[in-house]
């Protein structure tokens, strides 16, 4: 019996449900505009099918779960089946619909925490693969994205192996906690025996305080100077992998995805004077404006301040993005989420940032940025302890395709 057959057992009932609910689900999609998130001003979530995964260029939602998995299937057939299952679940969970009825033949097919029908248009699912998936277990070495490596230990890192890496990474985004949790529970149930959670972190974005870009837990607006996601040429140059050598062709439409779990030592930070805080970032804490400007979106004029008298040369924004011709192609598309996971052993808050970013080239973009940020003054107040390098797969283009297309060619 093939792995595919083996795993279709749980899906069988659900597939029946899907077939019966396509029309209803379509209606749900069209009504996504009237969801509470949209009412609050957030743009509607794009459809699941597309050249690229929907979340990459979409504005982050209010809640996220980032989870890395180790694949425990035996053989490539079962791995292909895992990707089919992940695709089916992602499609169903994002599209919504009635949960199938299994009568007396099984326990309920759905946890029911979102009610009898799964709402459509509320969820984004992003799936990525890590370098370890291409080791000798499944014979995938020749298919590995050329730039995909295991995330190294950077000089200011304090990486905990239990919080690092993974064969797969899954990011779920929605505006409510129950939506992302329902999705994780559903996906875990349907992939039981095929993958195990290695680590997971829940995160949230904050509303504008009072306007503009969200603030991180150090109180600073974070992610102001992102590349323009609506500029297709810029995205082609900075985000999307094009599948040309040395990349394997299948990677076209995907993007390198970095996850960094960064603890923020907020008690220490709160004991730092405002001038020093602002000089570390290079921005005003209140407005988010660069220290030589007045408004959040003002562009810092580094050429007028070569000595760093106004915006220190060591400040975070100046190191991260020097805005020179040479570093222009090194920009990254940031997607930050805050996290809050309780207390540490001395009674301080264990909170911080789930830093994620997309880019075309890990060396040219994330690693070059990271290199410039090495030993920046801010490193005393933050501690990167986890995350990993992944490749966000190309989008699933239609109902006949799967995330796992690349291992079936």
């Amino acid at each position: 019996m093939s792995g595919y057959d083996r795993r279709t057992f749980l899906r069988g009932a659900l597939a029946t449900g899907i077939a019966g609910t396509v029309a209803g689900a379509t209606v749900d999609r069209a009504s996504a505009d009237s969801s509470p998130a949209s009412a609050a001003g957030a743009p509607p979530i794009p459809p699941f099918h597309g050249l690229h995964q929907a979340a990459v260029l979409s504005a982050p939602r209010r809640r996220t779960i980032v989870a890395a998995f180790d694949v425990v299937t035996e053989g490539r057939g079962e791995l292909a089946d895992l990707f089919h299952t992940m695709t089916d679940r992602a499609r169903l969970l994002t599209t919504g619909g009635a949960t199938p009825q299994v009568g007396i033949t099984a326990p309920p097919a759905d946890s029911g925490i979102l009610g009898p029908d799964v709402p459509g248009g509320d969820l984004m699912v992003t799936l990525g693969v890590g370098a370890s998936l291409f080791d000798d277990r499944y014979g995938l070495a020749a298919l590995k994205p050329a730039g995909l490596t295991t995330m190294p230990m950077f000089p200011n890192d304090d990486l905990d192996p239990a919080w690092c890496h993974g064969d797969l990474v899954l990011q779920l985004e929605a505006d409510d906690d129950d939506t992302v949790l329902h999705a994780l529970r559903d996906i875990a149930r349907h992939t039981r025996g095929a993958m195990q959670v290695r680590w997971r972190m829940n995160g949230f974005t904050s509303p504008p305080r009072p306007t503009g870009t969200q603030r991180n837990l150090l109180g600073f607006k974070d992610g102001i100077a992102n590349p323009a996601t609506k500029n297709a040429a810029e995205m082609d140059g900075l985000v999307w992998v094009n599948g040309k050598a040395p990349e394997p062709a299948w990677t076209a439409g995907g993007s390198y995805f970095v996850v960094r779990l960064i603890r923020m030592l907020v008690e220490f930070w709160d004991r730092v004077g405002i001038d020093e805080q602002e000089e570390m970032f290079g921005r005003s804490k209140d407005t988010g404006a660069p220290l030589d400007g007045a408004r959040e979106q003002d562009v810092p004029q580094y050429h007028l301040d070569p000595e760093g008298t106004v915006i220190p040369l060591t400040s975070h924004i100046r190191r991260a993005n020097p805005r020179t011709a040479e570093t222009d192609a090194g920009r990254i598309l940031r997607r930050g989420f805050n996290y809050d996971k309780g207390m540490d052993s001395v009674g301080d808050l264990d909170v911080g940032l789930i830093f994620t970013c997309y880019q075309q080239d890990l060396r040219r973009q994330f690693e070059a940025t990271q290199k410039r940020l090495e030993d920046e003054p801010l490193v005393d107040y933050i501690s990167p302890f986890g995350g990993g390098y992944f490749f966000a797969l190309p989008g699933v283009q239609d109902a006949s395709r799967s995330f796992g297309g690349f291992i079936e060619v």
Binding site: P100, G103, I104, T105
Partner: protein, 380 residues
């Protein structure tokens, strides 16, 4: 519960049945459940995912089933519908002939008029109900299995107790595992043996002083002492008490009636316990034999499944895959057995541990339908 039913009743008058409409109540008045009008009111049978509403118009509580005609397979059920109450039943129906079967609490069942649904849609999954009578034989056989296992348990516990009594810690440690496994193979889970279960295999959880609590008894108490260097003389009392409780269990067995519904539950609950207490190593008191316990639990699970197999053969479409998963878990556990010793869970390499956890998780998903399918239902 009642409030939500009323909402559905109110809502059902203005919406027609559409195959694709999620959870849309059926058109028309509710279907009647009673001894005089069973199944009446199902006036617009339609294909697709839908919600039927049923009202008990009789004077006694009744179970209501949507069945296949003439096969009798159940597509959906409402258990214990009280007189005057209306409840909804989400269901997936395709081409075929169906009827409502009303099963009053203390009377004979009635089957309502047949209704036909045309088209080419497929129905949701269905199964012919398993009756109390069907479960009588397997339950009796399981009790015989337990009775046989308890004899082995008693013999092996004697070996353990006498090693403790003569003050031989090496022999006692050697004898502990076989005796404990004899118990674990019985497939006890969730209060199976009542007070004897706690006395023989209880954990220190819930005891105010934990492992030092005078109420901590049984195999794990002896295990704690043996693997924490307690003196043999101080272990005599718990070891003797263990033997006494095993004897008590053996003597009590003939008086213990097992509910027919218990065996199907056992099919997944034994391994639920394994996942919760053994693979987490919560139960371990120093011997590091959680995987040996897991393997014994798997044996108990197989026994339960095999006794139910004749009932499952025609009812559970995932049986073959479940068997394959039982084998997979067995294989992964066997790989951690080295002669008479087992890898402690904490010493497993992370990928081996993930494989075992994942495989047991999947096995549980595949065992769980057995409890639903074999839940005893009255058909006469």
């Amino acid at each position: 519960m009642i409030a939500s039913s009323l909402f559905l009743v109110a809502g059902c008058s203005d919406s027609g049945v559409k195959a694709a409409a999620p959870s849309t109540p059926a058109a028309g008045s509710p279907i009647q459940i009673s001894t005089s009008h069973c199944g009446q009111g199902w006036t617009h049978p339609a294909a697709g995912r839908q919600t039927l509403t049923m009202t008990n118009t009789g004077t006694v509580a009744a179970d209501a089933y949507v069945i296949d005609v003439p096969g009798g397979a159940v597509y959906g059920e409402i258990e214990g519908l009280a007189p005057g109450v209306t409840r909804s039943l989400p269901i997936m129906l395709g081409q075929g002939t169906y009827a409502i079967r009303c099963q009053p609490e203390d009377g004979d069942p009635l089957v309502g008029p047949s209704v036909r649904i045309g088209g080419t849609d497929a129905s949701g999954p269905a199964a012919v109900p398993v009756t109390y009578n069907d479960l009588y034989g397997p339950t009796k056989q399981y009790q015989e299995y337990v009775a046989g296992g308890v004899k082995t348990l008693l013999a092996k516990t004697r070996t353990l107790t006498s090693a403790v009594d003569r003050g031989d810690p090496k022999a006692a440690k050697r004898a502990w595992l076989p005796a404990h496994l004899a118990y674990e193979k019985l497939g006890a889970a969730y209060d199976t043996f009542g007070d004897f279960g706690d006395a023989i295999d209880g954990l220190p959880v819930g005891l105010p002083k934990g492992v030092h609590d005078p109420g901590f008894a049984g195999f794990h108490r002896v295990e704690y002492g043996l693997w924490h260097g307690e003196s043999m003389s101080s272990l005599r009392k718990p070891a003797d008490q263990l033997l006494k409780d095993v004897k008590g269990l053996k003597a009590d067995l003939p008086n213990e009636d097992m509910e027919p519904g218990d065996l199907p539950l056992r099919a997944h609950e034994i391994m639920e316990n394994t996942l919760q207490f053994e693979l987490t190593e919560k139960a371990d008191q120093g011997s590091g034999t959680s995987l040996a316990t897991a393997s014994a639990n798997l044996e108990g699970t197989r026994e339960a499944v095999d006794l139910l197999r004749p009932l499952l053969q025609s009812r559970y479409t995932g049986l073959k895959q479940m068997d394959a998963q039982l084998d997979r878990v067995q294989r992964l556990l066997d790989a951690q057995k080295h002669g008479d010793s087992w890898t402690p869970v904490a010493s497993l390499d992370p990928s081996a541990r993930e494989s075992i956890d994942g495989a047991v998780g999947e096995l549980l998903e595949r065992l769980a339908p057995i409890a639903t399918i074999c839940y005893p239902r009255r058909t006469s």
